[in-house]
């Protein structure tokens, strides 16, 4: 077993306050380390996640971050898997701890997705992040590819603009309770329906923002968990899988099959069923992607009814994205998966700063991340620690 003894998330947003990703990484790490009760010298492995050197300019960012964090001597590496980078870094570190390669590992995810390059440049780079040789050179944007996938899914499940609006409204409202969120907003349906169409069915208010920020967790092998952190949440199961990068090559372009496979593996390793999950942080790059994810993860039998009936709201059967998700809390690419895992750990411990922190946290939480149009999927199941 591996315990999450420290977890922290910086403010996500467009940071134009004189700080850089190196400051955010340090802020997140120092806060997670402080929570863990460990010393800097105890950390023997650092896994960093950052989606793109284009964002940071820094090749081999793990070496620079390790230097900034005073971790010279620790094993360091950077994990990259598109939007799933952070969750894959969590997996790499958890596996290192589980195997005995490390006793205490830090995972630090970061990206200056909003402030270091013009938005148009970031959008163009993202366009090359699916299959640069085909979809990328054709000029298909990330939003267009997600939109085409959503078209299939929405038709198969009888979904319409109302379902998409519900996701935006809920996630942005959830973010209002999270003081570190990028876009806490109280949106109306009309406001969403009036926002410009980027790639139908997606309007601007169905899209997650580009954000800056960082998140960190500290993992300890169970035999080495500090005495003050015996009740820390544990990683109960992990799973990862992939699908073909081009939608056209998939048999079911509307289904997130890689996510289903990753979830099956995570549930198998945890000895659990999807129905055991009591809280989920789900990858909502777009409103429809959240619905596709919930369905693929096996968290619903009827995505249309459940999403309209409030099953995934703060007071629902399965609260989803209490943090605000990517749409509300924000989306600094390399920090997303680490932030989701940190959020789940904090919620399970009753320590999240969101006003939506459940008074009675559930036993199991799920962090779900993907890259591409769910080409690379990675999920982590966490369990509340014993009190």
């Amino acid at each position: 077993m591996v315990s999450v003894v420290g977890a922290a998330i910086t403010e996500f947003g467009r940071r134009i306050d004189g700080t850089s990703f190196r400051d955010w990484a340090a802020e997140a790490f120092e806060s997670a380390l402080s929570m863990s009760g460990l010393e800097r010298a105890d950390i023997d492995l650092l896994a960093c996640s950052s989606e793109s050197d284009f964002f940071t300019l820094q090749l081999n960012p793990a070496s620079v971050i390790a230097g900034d964090l005073g971790l010279a001597g620790a094993a360091t590496f950077r994990v990259e898997g598109g939007g799933a980078s952070g969750q894959l870094a969590v997996h790499a570190a958890a596996n290192a701890v589980k195997s005995g390669q490390a006793r205490h590992a830090a995972v630090v995810g970061f990206d200056p997705s909003a402030s270091q390059l013009p938005a148009a440049t970031v959008k163009e780079l993202y366009g090359y992040s699916f299959d640069a040789w085909t979809d990328g050179m054709t000029g298909a944007s990330a939003t267009a590819l997600y939109a085409l996938s959503a078209r299939f899914f929405m038709q198969a499940h009888g979904l319409d603009e109302g379902h998409l609006a519900k996701v935006t409204i809920q996630n942005r409202a959830n973010a209002l309770g999270n003081p570190g969120a990028h876009l806490g907003r109280r949106h109306s349906e009309d406001e969403i329906f009036d926002s410009p169409v980027i790639a139908a069915p997606y309007r601007r208010l169905h899209c997650s923002p580009l954000s800056d920020g960082a998140a960190a967790i500290v993992l300890s092998a169970n035999d080495f968990v500090p005495g003050s952190r015996r009740s820390a949440p544990r990683i109960r199961g992990i799973g990862a899988a992939s699908d073909k990068p081009r939608l056209g090559a998939r048999n079911s372009p509307g289904q997130f099959r890689a996510k289903s496979a990753a979830m099956r593996k995570a549930c198998e390793s945890a000895g659990l069923e999807p129905g055991d999950i009591g809280l989920a942080e789900v990858y909502d790059a777009y409103a429809g992607a959240q619905l596709q994810a919930i369905e693929a993860l096996g968290l619903t039998d009827d995505i249309s009814c459940d999403s309209l009936d409030g099953a995934f709201g703060p007071g629902g059967r399965l609260p989803v994205n209490l943090s605000g998700g990517l749409m509300g809390q924000g989306a600094p690419a390399g920090a997303i998966g680490v932030g989701q895992t940190a959020a789940c750990a904090l919620f399970l411990e009753g320590r999240h700063r969101s006003s939506l922190q459940p008074a009675m946290p559930p036993r199991f939480a799920l962090a779900d991340t993907h890259g591409g149009v769910c080409t690379t999927a990675a999920v982590t199941i966490l369990e509340r620690g014993s009190q």
């Binding site: 054709t138 085409l148 078209r151 980027i198 139908a200 939608l247």
Partner: protein
């Protein structure tokens, strides 16, 4: 304090195993990859077929496609299409498509990139 840095990048990407496909595309024609074992034709080509076979040959297909789904907006007009003679689908840019247009034909892209672009066909003569 902000450091401003201009870093132009001039890529020279080799097409690699996609060269034959890309060369055809630049001329507005379509080459599918046909699996030697099961005969499945992929366009956009797949190096390994779903049946597991890695051997294939290039097969000309008509370059005409049926639009299955489409999206349009500020990011442009794109379609999820199936090319005649292909067993897989592709995402293409739709040029000059009106709401009711369902069939299109590959055109040679302007510039140096192998873009997948189709224009609508309004009257078809059977092949």
């Amino acid at each position: 304090m902000i450091f401003e840095l201009d870093l132009p990048l001039e890529y020279r990407l080799e097409a690699g195993w996609l060269a034959r496909w890309a060369e055809a595309l630049m001329q507005g024609t379509a080459l599918a990859r046909s699996c030697r074992q099961c005969g499945r034709a992929s366009f956009v080509p797949e190096r390994i077929c779903d049946c597991g076979c890695s051997e294939g040959s290039w097969k000309p297909v008509p370059g005409k496609a049926t639009v299955i789904r489409r999206t349009s907006g500020l990011d442009g007009n794109f379609g999820f299409v199936r090319f005649d003679g292909a067993d897989t689908c592709a995402v293409v840019a739709l040029e000059g498509f009106e709401a009711g247009d369902r069939r299109g034909e590959l055109i040679a892209p302007a510039g140096s990139l192998p873009k997948l672009i189709i224009r609508p066909i309004h009257e078809e003569v059977p092949d």
